[in-house]
């Protein structure tokens, strides 16, 4: 099941916990992968670990020109981009009253606008191939909100609306557009939380534990597969039951 042999995937934020797990899962299913991120060393390490069919293209998703170039670079490395995983994300948390325009703009730029530009950039090839998968990693907080994350929650909710609209437009061309919404996952982003924050969060998770990056990757793998051809405009929540939406 879920054989991606011959498919080519671009994964942003591949140096992070979830991104690396997603790239690893797609690669294990037979896909070629282009690993993108800002830090080259961890990307190269991951590529070396994966072996063949792994390429590295560094890109700062806050830089519009770099974002425009990324799909072309990935297609040049692999031959095409059949699967796009918009995973890269940053946080600039602050109380709403204290949030600066810059904190707002940076998070929207990297988490939402770059996903729009990347999706636009890969569509032509997918339309011609009559096959494509776009999966954006959103977040449970896009649905529930979270104090201190007005910018992040707005960007993540924005991904859902963007994906649904695009899903309408390209469904007849064999292209699906979906989101995966992780809850609290063990990554560098959640390592930054203190113990009190963590125990408060765990109290809200029926599963009683944080999720693992591999559990997000499995959801992305499914939505990237041929078997998921009839799933589009959907958000798959992977959160241990903390928000049953």
């Amino acid at each position: 099941m879920f054989d991606l042999t011959g498919k080519n995937a671009l994964v942003t934020g591949a140096s992070g916990g979830i991104g690396a797990a997603v790239a690893t899962a797609l690669h294990a299913a037979g896909a070629a992968v282009t690993l993108s991120g800002t830090r080259e060393a961890p990307l190269q390490e991951l590529a070396a670990r994966l072996g063949s069919r792994a390429h590295v293209v560094t890109a700062n998703l806050g830089d519009a020109a770099a974002v425009e170039a990324l799909p072309k670079q990935a297609a040049a490395a692999m031959g095409s981009v059949d699967i796009l995983v918009n995973n890269a994300g940053i946080t600039r948390d602050n109380l709403f009253m204290r949030m600066s325009d810059e904190e707002w703009a940076q998070v929207l730029e990297v988490n939402l606008t770059s996903s729009f530009r990347l999706a636009r950039g890969v569509l032509r090839g997918m339309m011609k191939a009559r096959w494509g998968r776009i999966v954006s990693i959103t977040s449970v907080v896009g649905q529930t909100g979270n104090p201190g994350q007005g910018n992040y929650a707005a960007a993540k909710a924005g991904l859902v609306g963007m994906s649904k609209s695009l899903a309408y437009e390209v469904a007849s061309r064999g292209i699906t557009v979906n989101c995966v919404a992780p809850g609290f996952i063990e990554t560098a982003m959640t390592d930054a939380l203190n113990d009190e924050q963590k125990s408060r969060i765990l109290g809200q998770i029926p599963a009683g534990r944080m999720g693992r990056p591999e559990e997000i990757a499995a959801a992305v793998l499914y939505l990237s597969s041929t078997e998921a051809a009839y799933v589009t405009g959907a958000t798959l929540h992977v959160n241990g039951g903390m928000a049953m939406v």
Binding site: M127, K128, E169, V170
Partner: protein, 78 residues
């Protein structure tokens, strides 16, 4: 009919699955040939590739009929 017109017609016939006779000078892609808005985007992409030209969005909007397409491409490749 020029060579350009023949090539454009071939793309339109293949892409929209219409009969060749229907692709006349004044045939509108949307009103007469059953294209939806995404089909028109794909046609423009196909023209760009076939003729090695760039068709900017504002120009693409003026290409409503088969004749419009042929005329635009003739000028762009002249």
């Amino acid at each position: 009919m020029s060579d350009i017109a023949d090539r454009v017609k071939k793309i339109v016939v293949e892409h929209l699955g219409v009969e060749e006779e229907k692709v006349t000078e004044t045939a509108s892609f949307i009103d007469d040939l059953g294209a939806d808005s995404l089909d028109t985007v794909e046609l423009v992409m196909a023209f760009e590739e076939e003729f090695g030209i760039e068709i900017p969005d504002d120009a693409a909007e003026t290409i409503q009929t088969f004749g419009d397409a042929v005329k635009f491409i003739q000028q762009a490749t002249a």
